[in-house]
Symmetry: C2
């Protein structure tokens, strides 16, 4: 599987993705699941992908090709007038790729499935964040649900639900995602290091801080060990169950 999160804060957007892909536990490899298109001063578009690797790579390649061959099929990712229109284009390509691969029946289709988180900003409008389903339709993050997760989402959800605050800084948001990813990594083999992280600061219209976090990254180690001991300490401090 995969674990990817896109999160909206007052200051912009934060993205994080793992890099493990597997076809069975005996066949794992590392692939980047975070893809960025940008025209500095004009637009930044980030796409996170989960699901069948052939499908997600085909989607990204088609988006790539179409954004290079400007004029070939307008509008391309670098020409769309809005993030909504961008999500529509990605959704159409997702549906196209999946229906082109699925031979027949529900099983084949679900086998080639993929989901995406799309976020970014285009000059003249606000940053926006979408989740795109295998069927090609999509939903947008609002104030009540300011983040999307795809892949192995359950382990890392409780901490986001509890600690998210729209006023967080990028540094705090990175910490939150680091904890959420660490909980997932510790519980599920199909999510693996290294992690890719990207900050997009609102209205800058250029890709912000980007980092690949490996297992020996000192900050990652601090969070991972620190969170384990903090959890144990917090747990210890809660009163024990009063029997009888």
């Amino acid at each position: 599987m995969t674990y990817c999160v896109g999160l909206k804060i007052d200051r912009g957007l934060v993205f994080m993705s793992d890099t493990r892909t597997n076809a069975g536990v005996d066949n794992i490899s590392t692939f980047r699941k975070m893809h960025v298109w940008s025209e500095p001063g004009e637009r930044v578009i980030v796409l996170l992908s989960a699901g069948n690797l052939a499908t997600t790579q085909a989607v990204v390649s088609l988006l790539d090709e179409r954004s290079k061959a400007v004029g070939d099929r307008a509008p391309t990712l670098l020409e769309t007038p809005s993030m909504f229109r961008t999500a529509q284009i990605v959704g159409n390509i997702v549906r196209e790729v999946i229906s082109g691969t699925a031979l027949e029946g529900q099983k084949a289709e679900s086998y080639f499935n993929a989901s995406f988180i799309l976020g970014g900003q285009i000059k003249g409008s606000e940053p926006r964040l979408f989740m795109i389903y295998p069927e090609g339709n999509f939903i947008e993050a609002g104030g009540d649900t300011p983040f999307f997760q795809i892949g192995e989402t359950k382990y890392g959800k409780p901490i986001i639900v509890r600690a998210y605050d729209p006023a967080m800084s990028f540094e705090e948001t990175a910490k939150l995602l680091m904890v959420s990813f660490d909980s997932t990594l510790k519980s599920n083999l199909s999510v693996g290091l290294p992690l890719d992280m990207l900050f997009y600061e609102k209205d800058t219209l250029r890709v912000g801080f980007q980092k690949r976090i490996t297992g020996d990254d000192p900050y990652y180690r601090t969070v991972s060990d620190g969170w384990s001991s903090a959890l144990k300490a917090a747990f210890k401090n809660l009163p024990d169950f009063p029997m009888g």
Copy 2:
């Protein structure tokens, strides 16, 4: 769905289960998922169930009937010579019920699926804990994997993985499960209060402390609120991500 945990500690066994069943989110009800058979001084057998309610009820009813009609089909749940043999009997009934309901095809079978956690002790042998699959086969908890979860297992797993310790008291184990269930309840509508809890103290050969925990249980409220603030505080104390 459901969330049930069976956990082995040095002092015995601890079981916890939620009570929500649903056929769609517009049709939820409360059913007990913890079932106990015992003959004080001889044996205690606890069964937790997850999955299709018709299947799990049929399994429990059959086990019940057969344990009452002693001599009808030997050995019954109250006569089995070992927990291993008990698990075999439960597994056979599970397979029987599911294959009797599934009309045809893989879909129907998976629709009627159910999983079980079986634990207990029979005089003359150690307490044992099993997980029984819809296919009727089963695995036993050992030192490396001292707990089983069924149903919506992912949200509540990270805290058990981190805080479990075989030397824990019953009071601490109850606290651990309370936190694990609270994380699940906060993230997934298909798991719901009240919770059923049971302690089995090794070698007592009788059902120990039992309690139904409702939403207004003061200890549950303390843990739920306390854990939220403890998590937030622990999170705050971790160093923020060092940008650049």
